[in-house]
Amino acid sequence: MEFEYLIIFLPLVGAIISGFFGKFLGSRNSEILTSLFVTISSIFSFLIFYKVFNDGYINNLDIFTWINSGSFNVNWSIKIDALSSVMLVVVTLVSSIVHIYSIGYMSHDPHKQRFMSYLSLFTFSMLMLVTSDNFLQLFFGWEGVGLCSYFLIGFWFKKESANAAAIKAFVVNRVGDFGFALGIFLIFYLFGTVNYAEVFELIPQSLDVNLTFLGLSFNAINLICILLFIGAMGKSAQIFLHTWLPDAMEGPTPVSALIHAATMVTAGVFLVVRCSPIYEYSPLALNIITIVGMSTAFFAATVALAQDDIKKIIAYSTCSQLGYMFFAAGVGAYNVAMFHLFTHAFFKALLFLGSGSVIHSFKDEQNINLMGGVWKKLPYSWILMVIGTLALTGFPFLSGFYSKDAIIEFAYLRGNTVGYFAAGIGVFTALLTSIYSWRLMFKTFHGNYNNKKLNISSLHESPMVMIIPLIILAIGAIFSGFLFKDLFIGIESSSNFWKNSIFFLEPLSQDHPPSWFIFLTPILVILSIPAAYYIFVKNIKITNEIVNGNLPLYNFLKNKWYFDELYDYLFVNPSKKIGLYFWKKIDLRFIDRFGPDGISNLIKNISLFAVKFQNGFIYHYAFIMLLGFSALLTFLILR
């Protein structure tokens, strides 16, 4: 038995046992069982990861045939290379931590088994996604994680808002998947296969293929890249398809940490990196990715400035950081994107779980205006979240510092207009990130205690089962950047570690940007801390003055650039109206009226018939006809 099977199928087994037999097992046993299985899976993932970077281990297992129709053949498979081993570690590690944390967080919930089952099922789907060797299994995992996300966002099924958010997440993702699916069709159409290795091999020969669509001619490679990227935008909540992510915060906080910060939302980045052998041949698509990524980074950071819900701020922060990953990939620094994905998983999961701990202490209060001054009451949560915030903002020598600054530098080194522009936005967004993150910290933990419903003395630090997982994440948030930077983004990394899993058409630039540029971001980040402290704690009047002085801008940010309203106006309401129109006007008024009812005399007479029908005349006739027919048939066949 190979490790790979255990890694992937243990979570599935856990999900099935906890889901179907949870009642017999009891909640505690289900929790222990699922956590244990995922933890084992995580240990094996580390082993694989070690084998990959130490021995250059790769493996491609075929489990069994999935679809085989004419020339369309797909297998269930497990592909292990550097890229998927990194994802294995991220997914299983965060997942096992979240499983354990949930034992504490969900202790008052009556549906623990169901919750653990969903978490494990999610882990399984995510593992299927990252270990696929073809686009279709990737799509399976892709929709599978979307489904689990739907289940988990709507976990508290009595909350109307949670249900609406769950559906929104699924449907918006489907919009992205629409592009993704078309991309897969196009790949199959051009190459006759959906297997990565086979497709990637054929790419260099197909650079000049053009497709005509609505009278316009498109380069096929560009089209594939853009379609796949639309899928990635949906899953990774990039601007225009981001609206579901903040709403997804309706789910329990551990879910937000696992799915909506560390793993599922990074699937889009993973997709782009996995397809680097295609994207490298499409400068157009790469530029689009860079632009979308930096727009998202900037947009989400501005919105995060004006939100009051602790989880929504972190959600927009996630959105923004995903934007960073995309523009890293867009400037061709795929390994840097993966590095940021890796470090981000630690500090963002830490921030979410830390905020979960705060929310737990505040008895499910999420508004940061109703918190404050509690850092002494919640010392562990406070220090852990400080670490998370420092790492997120890119404070020197914590993990975010290495990965985020590398992104900005590579954007600068790209040397084209888009690259310079992205680098500039990157620096500015880093500043915004720092401001909104410290705003969150100061409003939550410092200043005056603002909650009138809860007495400050009733607040308690969360239990150890929740704190210890946080400590593990905090260790990751501090050291993962420093320890792994050479492996992920060092000069030799592409030949030593990534090998064939990431493709560079031209080797990445090894220059360094001017030193003033290198120091710019860390200095801004450091300076913003006292500035934020002054604005949000020392002299709150300034905040109010800024808000009142720029009320239209504030409302614009507060309402998230009015995307939801716009989409309701453009898509949701018209769909409903059109549906109603088709039904009431066309189906009933037009087709029925001039169709079957149009032979109206006949229908009018139905009332006459009806009497007989109920008397049984017609029924008798018809039944006898039927019987006669049957008898005749029997006779004729037997004759």
């Binding site: 999935w66 549906g579 109603l580």
Partner: protein, 497 residues
């Protein structure tokens, strides 16, 4: 001569029906006749599985051929199956016993007659799928209307008479044209034997009109837009078992008919009418999905979603690609399972609440957790989530459509977004949320029979989602052969011109 498998499959339910009809029924014997019907239909299912086991998927030739002359040199009773038809026979034989089990609670009166109608229906449907002669095909095809008409008209809801007649009118209209077409085929060629017609072909100049005549019948039965409006009404009024038969099997006769007759007999005309089919299919997919979104009645919603799903089927068939055609057959089987399951699920709560209005529900998950789980599986099947059978069919169809036209595939794919919207919204409104009504608090979870029926449907939906090979493998060679035949015809026609 070999054992006449196909005739046995057709006759067994008929004999059972006759038995039941002439049994002296009193109320206390109801159970007996139900078990008899169940036994007969189950035996038939086993027989159909055995047939599948004996079936040789490596040849496109018709197998298990039987031929008897009814009227000398005019009507032949000729039956046989290939990879295209066998799956529909198994589906029919699989769904019928489930309907009979479900009859328990849904049919309150005239159970005996109901069972007779269902069994006759089964026999006629199987007859449709294995006829190799146009005349007996027509007899089976139209004969199938009668029991359905009765099921809606006698055991239906309040507006059953209106619905039954609407159903009858629509289908009759199409059928008459098909009958005329069959007679003219006999006129032109001197035969109604399908294998003969496959070999010798029908003159191109007649094909267009004949195609349209067959199309008018199949389009109504599919149903395609704009002749779909009978379906929601029929479903709403039909008792649960009737809806199940209608959605799972009756609609598939048309899809099967398109493959076997329209494509097989009139390839040149089929090619010619591709744009018509594509446009109607796309309208069906988008239009009815939007209409489904706004439905207030659960059965109507599912009925409209059926129209959308069948839109994919017609689209797939007329791609004339391996993936498109295999996908269409797969989609029909899958839709047979999923729609049957959905209608049975609606039946389950209708039994308890006596309403189908979505607004009257909400919060079921608190009182019916088991029900909520199985309904979720069916919903996902309808949404076409990978890992359910619904995905495989849709995906293959879209791949096939893409080969023909990027635009068509792109528009059809929008239907995939819409299906998620209307199905999940339905699920949310029925299952999630707070319990609004006291009656709901009293609802009991699934009983044993219901668990059995629904589980039996969950299993294949998931199994074929992960491992569709048994179905795809069965159809592969026959489809290949059909496409080959189709292409030869088109090419030779081009050469003639």
């Amino acid at each position: 001569m070999d054992f006449p498998f196909l005739s046995s499959l057709i006759l067994l339910p008929l004999i059972g029906a006759l038995f039941i009809f002439f049994s002296k029924s009193k109320s206390n014997t109801y159970l007996t006749i139900k078990y008899l019907a169940l036994f007969v239909s189950f035996a038939n299912f086993i027989l159909s599985l055995y047939l599948w086991y004996l079936f040789d998927p490596s040849t496109a030739e018709f197998q298990f051929l039987e031929e008897r002359s009814w009227i000398k040199s005019f009507i032949n009773y000729k039956v046989g199956i290939d990879g295209i038809s066998i799956l529909f026979i198994i589906l029919t034989a699989f769904i019928t016993p489930l309907c009979i089990v479900s009859v328990n609670s849904t049919v309150k009166y005239r159970l005996k007659d109901f069972l007779v109608a269902i069994l006759v229906m089964e026999s006629l449907m199987i007859g449709v799928f294995c006829s190799l002669d146009l005349v007996i095909f027509y007899l089976f095809f139209e004969g199938g209307l009668i029991p359905m008409f009765l099921i809606i008209g006698i055991w239906g809801g309040e507006r059953r008479v209106y619905s039954a007649f609407k159903f009858f009118l629509y289908t009759l209209l199409g059928s008459v044209l098909m009958l005329v077409a069959i007679i003219s085929i006999y006129w032109f060629t001197g035969s109604t034997d399908i294998t003969y017609l496959y070999d010798f072909g029908i003159d191109e100049k007649y094909q267009y009109l004949l195609w349209l005549a067959f199309f008018s019948s199949f389009a109504v039965k599919t149903p395609m837009w704009p002749v779909h409006t009978w379906l929601p009404d029929a479903h709403v009024e039909a008792p649960t078992a009737g809806s199940v038969l209608l959605a799972a099997i009756l609609l598939k006769m048309a899809g099967y008919g398109f493959i076997r007759f329209s494509v097989g007999l009139f390839p040149v005309a089929s090619e010619y009418f591709i744009p018509l089919i594509y446009i109607l299919s796309l309208i069906a997919i988008i239009y009815t999905s939007l209409v489904a979104l706004m439905q207030e009645d659960m059965k109507k919603l599912i009925a409209y979603s059926s129209v959308a799903h069948m839109g994919f089927v017609t689209l797939g068939i007329f791609t004339f690609t391996q993936q498109g055609l295999e996908g269409s057959i797969f989609q029909m089987i899958s839709h047979g399972l999923v729609s049957a399951a959905l209608f049975l699920s609606v039946g389950v709560i209708y039994e308890r609440m006596h309403t189908r209005l979505i607004d009257n529900y909400g919060g079921l998950v608190s009182v019916m957790p088991k029900y909520s789980i199985v309904l979720m599986v069916f919903t996902l099947g309808a949404v076409g989530l990978p890992g359910t059978s619904g995905f495989i069919g849709e995906f293959l169809i879209l791949i096939g459509a893409f080969k023909k036209s990027f635009l068509v595939a792109a528009i059809a794919s929008i239907g995939v977004i819409l299906s998620a919207a209307y199905m999940l919204w339905l699920y949310k409104r029925v299952v999630f949320g707070e319990i609004k009504k006291d009656e709901i608090k009293k609802m009991s979870d699934l009983n044993r029979a219901e668990i059995f029926i629904l589980t039996v449907l969950v299993l294949p939906i998931i199994f074929f989602g992960f491992y569709p090979e048994p179905l795809l493998n069965t159809t592969e060679i026959s489809i290949e052969n059909l496409i080959e035949m189709y292409k030869t015809n088109i090419n030779s026609n081009l050469v003639e011109k």
